[in-house]
Symmetry: C3
Subunit: 155 residues, 3 copies
């Protein structure tokens, strides 16, 4: 699981990092996946955006601007949980299943729709108010690819 | 896939369109489905609510006030993706499966719960900050019916 | 289905109820589940938080800080719908399936990820703007346990 900062000029104009006048901060994070299907723990990087925003109380919204990837929140302790998660999804939505979509990645679209494209987390005292065992995970379903996450902090 | 403005007097008092004093805008959109299960692209209509709100930076929340329909974000280019999505859901949650619910539409309730009743999208420079291939879709699972979407723009 | 207020000292510092200076209210609700898998209707308790917040227009965010439980919105009229929902999930994600997670509750993690850890509902005229048949449900997938819900009201 590689995570790396990558310049994406096409989105730079749209989502360049800045603190808005009304106190909302929108930031773009780059995520690089290394396999067809894998999960990448982005909790620390999202927390960094929250910290830099200066927001003490509010919510943090994490959005995936892709159609074959998602974001979810689950256990950050035992990596086996993430393997079970990916295998369960493979069982529910097999890669080959007589799909009509010509690009061959229909299963990735369906998985992304089941998992969802965004998560919202309360922010309290400047910290993501996650439970003790929770982490925020980017879910790649059609990698390896360079991906994005859009993080919005609402005060 | 018909989409049409429909008067719904029962909700008019609750959700009539207006700009609130604190800058939040809540708007109700009408969606008409034509089949038992189908998806309706509502991206342009949601963008119109965002534009009319005058909000430049924030988030847009799209909520389905029904129990047998949902809303999701996925590919807006190849319609085959949406067919694969609906067929995959049918395979996961068959219409007949020995359900207890007497109305006969239990599968639609389960599908709606898997897909979810709302989506939140970042707003940047007055535009929904969707990815290049993303559209917002209303998902009908027990149509045809006249449906609603509640759009809230948070500045 | 028991629902009861329970003191949770470990979270009290983090999430003690209070109205923040910027008008955001974060409140913690305790939920006690009585079975391995069940749903608990928390709509009235969430509405109470909204009422106490004084917020008239905005959104209410309900967050589950656990990795084997979730929250969803669906029918509040016929309890059979909730039984069909739990049984459909059992069929999709069986309790035993050769999982790697050593704690034996991998299925609960997967179900929680499919259902999701939070829901966002519009608030209008100080009320949750839910549809006529909608309720907010805490979903237990590895009970019985004492659980939490974090409710944030954004004005």
């Amino acid at each position: 699981m590689e995570v790396e900062a990558i310049a994406r000029p096409d989105l730079d104009g749209l989502l360049r990092s800045r603190r808005m006048a009304d106190g909302i901060r929108i930031e773009r994070l780059a995520v690089r996946s290394g396999k067809r299907a894998e999960v990448v723990d982005v909790t620390d990087r999202v927390q960094r955006v929250v910290s830099q925003s200066g927001v003490k109380t509010g919510v943090c919204h994490v959005f995936v601007p892709h159609t074959t990837a998602g974001v979810f929140i689950n256990e950050n302790a035992d990596p086996a949980v993430m393997q079970d998660f990916l295998q369960s999804l493979d069982r529910l939505v097999p890669w080959e299943q007589g799909y009509q979509h010509a690009e061959g990645n229909a299963a990735a679209h369906v998985k992304a729709t089941l998992i969802g494209t965004s998560q919202t987390v309360p922010v309290h005292d400047g910290r993501l108010a996650l439970g003790r065992w929770q982490g925020i995970y980017f879910a790649e379903f059609d990698g390896p690819r360079d991906r994005q996450l859009t993080v919005t902090v609402l005060p």
